[in-house]
């Protein structure tokens, strides 16, 4: 049996990765405000989890100014997509074995 991914296992990070990998690899990603709505996390909490995922190389963060406002966009990296796929497969394996 495969092992869980300790980074993705945390509920907010699991939601972040689920949201980001729902987009195609060519998509530009999701902005911070949209991710906040989707995950139900607070600003600080979401920022900390995104940093954690970025340090693991699972997401790419880009910052830009759009209409004079700062905009943070987060996108799943290829290794993040692969890790998320493995973690979901691991969860399915647990259910299948029950």
């Amino acid at each position: 049996m495969s092992a869980p991914d300790e980074t993705i296992h945390q509920p907010v990070r699991l939601r972040i990765m689920a949201a980001l990998t729902a987009l195609s690899a060519s998509d530009e990603g999701l902005d911070f405000a949209h991710l906040k709505t989707l995950t139900g996390a607070t600003d600080g909490n979401l920022g900390a989890h995104i940093d954690h995922l970025a340090k693991a190389g699972y997401v790419e963060v880009s910052k830009a100014f759009v209409a004079r406002r700062p905009r943070t966009t987060v996108k799943a990296s290829p290794s993040g997509r692969a890790a998320f796929g493995r973690h979901v497969a691991f969860l399915r394996e647990i259910i299948a074995r029950a």
Partner: protein, 182 residues
């Protein structure tokens, strides 16, 4: 780390719910500009019917052709490189248009007021159907605006075109604005 089957099931359900929300949100955001475009066309078309009723038929044909071309261009611009030609959209639009033409012009012999009510409710029926696959907001838009148009048909008197401009056109614009932030 030990994860029970129940915990795993809950996590997978969470993942599926988020994925569904992201996909729905993507569809809403991509549709928002198209809805606002059609809202503007509906407002302009109905106001021009009020101002120059004799030219309403030609005016609507031109407005619809412009709207269809602009919608097509927006769909093409947003599709990923190498994506298929959006022939389904064109096919659906053509089918609705032909169905509407056959009933309103050949079989139904509708009056001007009936035509003004029939065409928007026909296409709103399409939105209601789309809601079954692409998100409840489309169904709410289709059914809600249709009900308001029918109400206006019976009770708005001589101001039916103004009613359509405000309710139908305004409804599309408001729904588009809401979808942009969904």
């Amino acid at each position: 780390m030990t994860i029970s089957p129940n915990e795993a099931g809950a996590m997978l359900a969470d993942v599926e719910a988020i994925v569904a929300r992201v996909k729905r949100s993507r569809i809403y955001r991509q549709s928002s500009a198209i809805l606002m475009l059609w809202g503007a066309i509906v407002v302009a078309g109905n106001l021009s019917c009020l101002a120059a009723p004799r030219w309403s038929g030609v005016g609507w044909l031109a407005a619809d052709a412009l709207g269809a071309a602009a919608t097509f261009a927006m769909l093409r611009r947003r599709s990923s490189p190498g994506a298929r030609f959006p022939s389904r959209f064109l096919g659906a639009f053509a089918l609705f248009f032909v169905f509407g033409f056959v009933w309103s012009e050949l079989l139904g012999r509708f009056g001007l007021r009936e035509l003004d009510a029939f065409w928007p409710t026909l296409f709103l029926f399409g939105y209601a159907l789309a809601g079954l696959w692409f998100g409840a907001a489309f169904a709410a838009l289709g059914l809600g605006l249709s009900a308001l148009i029918v109400a206006g048909y019976f009770w708005s008197g001589d101001w039916f075109n103004l009613w359509l401009a405000v309710v139908n056109g305004g409804g599309f614009v408001l729904c588009g604005l809401w979808m942009r932030r969904a």
